[in-house]
């Protein structure tokens, strides 16, 4: 497949991806590094979910990627469903120097599987790998966990620009595969052919009383 898509008209997809994780693990920094290509050590803490979008071509598909960034403090957790509703993918970010932030990832996996089912593409992201000396969460453990919950594990450093581009491309690639597999195929397998289908699955949680959108 021609990655540039020249000559042929590509499939078109519109994907929504949400960044979740504990406060100060680097969610906003990852997004800003990927979309704007910069890193600001004095970034302000996120209160409202912020939003950036990017167009890219992956696996012969034109992708319009919208990335939603969320507040990390536990108290804002209640607003989570508003942000991740209708997401095709979620990046669950933790700080490799902070084991507690990894626990939070486990919790998000549970919640997202419950709310969005197996269709949502989950990536677990160990950020701040530049701080190798103070690392407390080992790659092996994180990989094992990711595999056990049907997620993909990647490591990044938003500060040093390690693995960020790759992360988002892999994520898009996974979402494209899943979308091409078609809405009828609800299994976790991302393989399969089929035309370019654009899918938005909205799962309403009966328990959440919040109004949305």
């Amino acid at each position: 497949m021609d990655p540039s898509g020249a000559g042929t008209s590509n499939d078109e997809f519109k994907f929504k991806v949400v960044l979740l994780g504990e406060g100060a693990v680097g969610k906003s920094s990852l997004m800003l590094r990927y979309v704007q290509g910069n890193f600001n050590p004095r970034h302000i803490s996120t209160i409202q979910a912020s939003f950036l979008s990017k167009q890219l071509v992956v696996d012969g598909a034109d992708i319009d990627l919208s990335i939603w960034d969320t507040a990390g403090q536990e108290k804002y957790h209640a607003l989570g469903p508003i942000y991740y509703r209708g997401s095709h993918g979620a990046l669950l970010v933790y700080d490799v120097t902070d084991a507690k932030s990894f626990d939070k990832v486990k919790m998000w996996v549970k919640e997202l599987r419950r709310a969005l089912g197996d269709d949502v593409v989950l990536f677990i992201v160990g950020n701040k790998v530049d701080l190798a000396d103070s690392r407390t969460v080992e790659t092996e453990m994180a990989t094992q966990f990711a595999t056990s919950v049907g997620a993909t594990y990647e490591e990044t450093s938003a500060k040093e620009n390690i693995g960020v581009e790759n992360l988002f491309e892999l994520m898009c690639s996974a979402m494209v595969s899943r979308a091409r597999a078609g809405p009828s195929n609800r299994g976790p397998s991302p393989n399969g052919g089929g035309g370019g289908t654009r899918r938005i699955r909205i799962v309403d949680e009966p328990t959440t009383g919040r109004k949305c959108c």
Binding site: G23, R42, Q48, Q73, E74, K100, D103, M107, R210, C213
Partner: protein
Amino acid sequence: KEGTETEDQEVNRRRVEREVRREKKWLDMIREWEEDRFPFETPPPPPPMGVQERERREREKKNQRVTKPVQPAKLFERIWKGVPEKLRGSVWPRLLRVDQYRKERVYEQLLLRARLVSRDIRQIDLDINRTYRDHLAFRKRYDVKQQSLLNVLAAYSMFNTEVGYCQGMSQIVALFLMYLDEEESFWCLHALMVNPHHTMHGFFVPGFPKLSRFETHFKKILMKYKPKIYKHLDKEMIPYIYLTKWWFGCFLDRVPFSLTLRLWDLFLVEGDSVLLAMALNVFKMHDKRIRKYNVETFMEFVQSSITKDFGFSDDEVMYSLRETMEKMRSDRLLHAPPPSPSDLAEVPTKALGPVLTRSMADIRSDIAEIQSRCSRANSTATGRSPHTRKKRNSMNGHTPHTPHTPHTPSSSMIPPSPRSKEERRREDQVITEEPMERREGSAHPRDPLRNGGTTLTTNRRSVYDNLPPTEKSENVRRLRDEKTGQVVSIVRDQSDLDRYTQEEYRNVDVRVTQLANHITYVTIGDDDEFSKV
């Protein structure tokens, strides 16, 4: 070119003259306020104990007077042109009626206690690193203003325990600290949280009840006044999440700073209806643009475009806002309907500052203990003051931890870290976090209640002084500090023996984290927050 320079100078001269005239008017108005004893004069020094009751009655009488809006006549007119920059520091606390809330010495006492027991220090510290770092006053880490910010937020987290610390509060306090001192900022924050015109408590308290209530009302007024925009947002599936940030900080960071100040001036006078009206006003003023936006362009507009340049002058925005508010007022839509009794409370329901009931003697002995612990840590070159943060149900009579081999300063496991003057200085104001329960119940080492544990738990001092590192090694776990790489020993005590078998204890999740300002956290078992979910 010379011509334009003199022209600029001319414009500037006029601006300064106007500002000076305004300052005079405002100063007169402040005097008028003071003659009315509105809202307050600096209270006299704290009275002797017997006088307190009389003073309380007096204050109540005064409060009754003040609750009737005794505002200078011209305030509501002048506020639209903004409070003169020089006078914000004296006008804002008056507008918030801080005297109704201020109590002598409370802040100082809270602060002493907050240094010992605030649960929110870690999050606060993380956020201070991300609050107005581009503003000169907050640029330097651990500089004066950043310390003040930490102090106010930590003290408040001990005062209004239902809110504690919630993200978004740091920006508000930082704004206050640009004009006010620490204590004044503290009381302004509190007034803003609880006074009936603002009740920001309702926004920040878990569950955000006021956010839902305001959002509902906002949709209603948007549908009424700007039905096309309402339908457009609906069609484009643009979620209303930007309202969180607009409202929690009254447009801080969401419109240019000069405009934010004008909005805050008005917000403090008019109350929370400004939040609704300004949100509507943004849509009103940018009507045509917004109806062309999709979710991407709309979000860019909200979080980037209008934060840099609103597209209209501050005066134009205020003029339009005034029209909007008057229209809403005449339609009786300016105020959101009050919360229904079945909703979460938007005002504090618990006693304020519960930690203040602890005697100073108790607190002092704790402080003394911590200080001596610091100095011991110093003398043994461990260089850190360890403090604990532990799970609620694992903390009763818990002996937390000890720096590894305290009496062998040359221990190979702890690189002796030479302490700079700066570090020593900072130690004087070390802020620590300890589980509240333990401190409230059996607070200090001499407390007989603590004798229920093993010898290791009865006296924390003995842990440092008498424990040979090899003794009872099955009860000791060594951990590496996540940030500094230092080794810390965790000693298992009776409550752990009860909770875990030896095997489990070896595997239970224990983590040691050190923050940049020399706070050590020890977390045993899973985290409170995590287990809650």
